[in-house]
Symmetry: C2
């Protein structure tokens, strides 16, 4: 697999929060329980989400987490990036501040394989940007419903 459980669990937490439309925060404990995920581990992940400004927290009793923005304004690329770090298929491909793709292997003859990895990265980032959290909680096209 190419993404770790950090992305998997983290996305599930976000989807869970998006499903609770009330502005009352949801405790991580309840999320961990209903999702069947280890609480202590989720704490790490949700911190990443918080530092990225994707969720807000309220401490103390009846505290918990809630989305920092409406679900349809949260691109999945942000979520995955917050959880996994920069999205790059291989190390030598990273995106510079201006958004263009850079090959880290500088002086060398430009890797003939650069074209491949840039395209792969492009397609990943594009699909991740096209989807928002809202698409997860109420899927846009449900045509591929599983047969019995």
């Amino acid at each position: 697999m190419m993404f770790s459980t950090k992305a998997e669990y983290g996305v599930r937490v976000m989807a869970h929060l998006a499903g609770r439309p009330g502005d009352e925060p949801t405790s991580l404990g309840s999320i961990a329980e209903t999702e069947g995920l280890p609480l202590a581990y989720l704490e790490h992940l949700v911190q990443r989400l918080r530092r990225a400004g994707l969720v807000e927290s309220r401490r103390g009793a009846h505290g918990g987490y809630s989305l920092a923005r409406p679900a349809q304004e949260i691109a999945m690329a942000e979520v995955v990036r917050a959880l996994e770090g920069e999205i790059a298929p291989i190390e030598c491909i990273t995106s510079s501040p201006d958004g263009s793709l850079v090959c880290a292997r500088e002086g060398e003859s430009p890797c003939p394989t650069k074209l491949l990895w840039t395209r792969v990265q492009g397609s990943i980032v594009r699909t991740l940007n096209e989807m928002t959290l809202a698409d997860l909680v109420r899927p846009t096209t449900m045509k591929e419903k599983l047969p019995a």
Copy 2:
């Protein structure tokens, strides 16, 4: 990074082979030297490529490796799959024999996140299938040439 150096190095080896159009095999030693990669490690990778039927080998003196098929008939998805194993963004998403995508988490309520990962996988596999080895050695569009 989402793919390991297995994919990176392996693709470079394939691109190297594609650049040597003669049917004389190329020794791994010379590839390792010109590409600046560790020979002993490449030996492992190239075995995967061989077992996948992507390269052919000739043993003994003046032996080496050559492409099993013309470069334009080798989809990069095959290469990456041979090197990295099944292409799946996360563990629960895998492709069944008939090509459809399956969520491993069976009885459970189908992960609401499935839609996300299937799309991501779909876009990766699609771009990887659209490109062939030939595209790497003589890129189709060379517009994004690096500035001095």
